[in-house]
Symmetry: C2
Subunit: 195 residues, 2 copies
């Protein structure tokens, strides 16, 4: 029993070390340059351990993105204001857009790949496919817009704002490193909309 627990603790520690190593490497290098070998070396584990924990490079990237999205969701739901509860809707919306633009910029390539997978499935199934992250962000923005501007169509405005992170033109600016500019522009739009 003690041995099994030790093994599980070991597995969890390896998993965390691998995610942290991947995150650190991705901060400094293009995704194409971040191989499993480099991640394993930086985490101090064997390449086999990475595959054992995440299945594939894609699986590791997905786990990293899911972790970031989860951490972000926790900050929105229960973290300090203005991102978390307690600030006026308009301030919360601005804080949300700021944070989500940074998140999108850091995960640009992952998001593009994910969008493409969804678009392909949607095309194959002949219908629009739900993206759970999109839906939760949309619900949050919709509730803030509804509070601040009950006269607007909050559902539609939320689609326009959250959806803009997936749009070609904005994605192009984020991939070009214009994170600050996109964040400032989105902030100005949100302030104009909610004033």
């Amino acid at each position: 029993m003690g041995e099994q627990r030790a093994e599980r603790a070991d597995a969890a520690r390896n998993r965390r070390a691998i995610l942290r190593a991947a995150e650190e490497l991705l901060r400094r290098h293009a995704p194409d340059e971040v191989s499993i070998e480099r991640i394993a070396a930086a985490a101090g584990v064997g390449k086999g351990t990475v595959f054992h924990r995440f299945g594939s490079r894609v699986g590791l990237m997905r786990a990293l993105m899911e972790e970031r999205v989860r951490t972000f969701g926790e900050a929105v739901a229960g973290g300090p204001p203005p991102l978390g509860p307690g600030a006026p809707s308009r301030d919360r919306l601005v804080a949300f857009l700021d944070a989500v633009v940074v998140l999108a910029a850091r995960n640009g390539r992952l998001i593009t790949a994910h969008d493409h997978a969804l678009a392909t499935r949607r095309h194959a199934e002949g219908r629009l496919t739900e993206n759970p992250v999109y839906l939760s962000w949309h619900a949050h923005v919709m509730s803030l817009v509804a509070e601040a501007r009950p006269d607007l169509d909050a559902d539609l405005v939320a689609h326009v704002l959250v959806g803009s992170l997936h749009n070609e033109g904005v994605a192009r600016l984020l991939l070009a490193g214009e994170t600050e500019r996109v964040a400032a522009g989105m902030r100005a739009m949100a302030e104009s909309l909610l004033r």
Copy 2:
């Protein structure tokens, strides 16, 4: 020579008759129900003539969409105000969004198919692909926003507004027939942004 000219006139007349028949059928039926046979019958030509003029059903749909986009572009560039030149930027933007939402609603399935083709090419080429219609609409909206609100990032705002027609949530509303609602919501957003 007279005979060749007559043939060319015949071809042009057939082309127009086929496009008008397709347009009329698509106004009243779902695209899946509009077969080449039906279009040919409604246009008073043989099925072979449709294939000869447009290559395939997809080719005919693309020609129809291109024709609509071209007509719309002419109205924006030189038609009567407020869609055309001569009205204040804010009125022109509202008129543009109204018209473009109707256009997107009428061409929803064509646009989805086109977006998917672009996304696939982009994924294959590992880069974002330019869509000429998107670029021309973006340039128009950008110039109107820049005139009305020089303090905003007109480039970004134009991406958010024009890109929203391609976004999942808005596409879903348009496919559900909520054209009026999308148009009203976009109008309210534009008015808030440009006031």
